[in-house]
């Protein structure tokens, strides 16, 4: 019990540090891919620290409360995952977090943030089936929804769940807000929706969104690790490779439209996700 608690608490403390560092390395590598030198690796921390000092301009009274809840639930989801709790609970909590984020954006009065929120809803709709398939498949492979059980499962899960892994990798692009699926908001300012979801947030609340994103990055990568939990070094390697591929994908694709994002992620969920579950079903013979 205490091990779990320590693990969850250390997630709360260290995840933003790791997430921020990952984001900094990401920006540096991205810059190198674009023929630039790039910012210092610690740049994301400077940004967030600066944002915290800025004035908090508010368009509507309650919008920032939603952001507080968004950050809270993102942290809570991560704690659930790191505490080895139920995978389903983690997914629901994460969805709730996105709902709060979308509500916050809907609260903003700018049309950009409204359209951004609508697109985010569609994206959530797009990736959610795949996430659920992933949870089901983990259950079928290991016989438990509990992360603590999954992580000690002796079999290398990637062998059983290659389709699920690929499908999850596909929606990871959406979750990490990488091109081609950075529809609702993007790291780079040059987008038709300006900053989409985050258009209406300034200063400290923007910093909170950024920090929430760091937390998300860390537990999404932890989720990737779950597939390789039986061989830790392979897991670590997979996390690094996955993230590098995401950066690469970010740099070699144009931004897609939401129709493509939703359709393709459903197709991926149906073919890879459902296909993998079906094969497991036949193998295990439930």
């Amino acid at each position: 019990m205490s091990v779990r608690l320590i693990s969850a608490l250390s997630f709360v403390v260290f995840a933003p540090l790791i997430g921020g560092l990952i984001s900094g390395i990401d920006r540096r590598i991205t810059a190198r891919m674009q023929g630039r030198f790039g910012p210092p690796v610690l740049q994301p921390f400077y940004d967030v620290y600066k944002l915290l000092q800025k004035e908090n301009v508010i368009a509507r009274v309650r919008q920032n409360a939603y952001i507080d809840f968004y950050l809270l639930f993102v942290i809570f989801s991560g704690m659930l995952l790191f505490a080895g709790q139920d995978l389903l609970l983690f997914i629901f909590s994460l969805t709730l977090a996105s709902v709060f984020f979308i509500l916050a954006a809907f609260k903003g009065s700018s049309p950009y943030s409204l359209v951004g929120a609508q697109r985010e809803l569609l994206l959530v709709m797009g990736y959610e089936p795949m996430v659920l398939f992933a949870a089901v498949a983990f259950y079928m492979a290991t016989g438990s929804f509990w992360v603590s059980k999954i992580i000690v499962h002796p079999v290398l899960l990637i062998k059983l769940l290659p389709g699920i892994f690929l499908g999850f990798f596909y929606i990871l692009t959406i979750k990490l807000r990488k091109s081609p699926y950075d529809l609702s908001t993007s790291h780079h300012g040059h987008q038709e929706l300006v900053k989409g979801l985050t258009t209406e947030f300034a200063g400290p609340s923007l910093a909170m969104i950024e920090v929430a994103h760091w937390y998300e990055t860390v537990f999404l990568l932890a989720f990737v690790y779950l597939f390789f939990a039986a061989t830790p070094w392979l897991g670590a390697l997979a996390v690094v490779v996955c993230y590098f591929l995401e950066i690469l994908i970010d740099n070699v694709f144009a931004r897609a439209k939401w129709e493509v994002a939703v359709k393709s992620s459903w197709l991926v969920a149906a073919v890879l996700g459902f296909g993998n579950v079906a094969v497991l079903y036949l193998l295990k013979g439930f």
């Binding site: 630039r36 030198f37 790039g38 301009v57 923007l206």
Partner: protein, 153 residues
Amino acid sequence: MAYFKKSPWIIHYDATSCNGCDIEVLAALTPLYDVERFGIINTGNPKHADIFLVTGAVNEQNKMVVKNIYDQMPEPKAVIAVGICACSGGIFRECYNVLGGPDSVIPVDIYVPGCAARPEAIIDGVVQALGILEKKHLARKEARKQHDRIAAN
């Protein structure tokens, strides 16, 4: 140290410039000049920005736009007038629809001369604005402290 020096985010608005300076502002983002080295990002969103780059003079129709963008930016903020048109009206000073530089509408902190202003000059202007940001931040902090003190008494 409030890290304003490390992470200035800019927003750029083309008042009535001829595009020469705008293109140079954009060129400063690209590989040869790469201002992201200094943490400078072109946000495009006034609510995220610290530094407002105005190119060109102000005219009847866009003076409200310039003012709106300025008002939407959260404190502390700095304004840089890029190019000779933004400093004084430049070659277009005598045109009937030119009201003068953006300083006729909003307070301008730094003037970057040139027609068109070179990317090096623009970067230098931004770097100078950083000191002003830091100063404004400290002044704000001081004012808040004083306010609290008065409130406490």
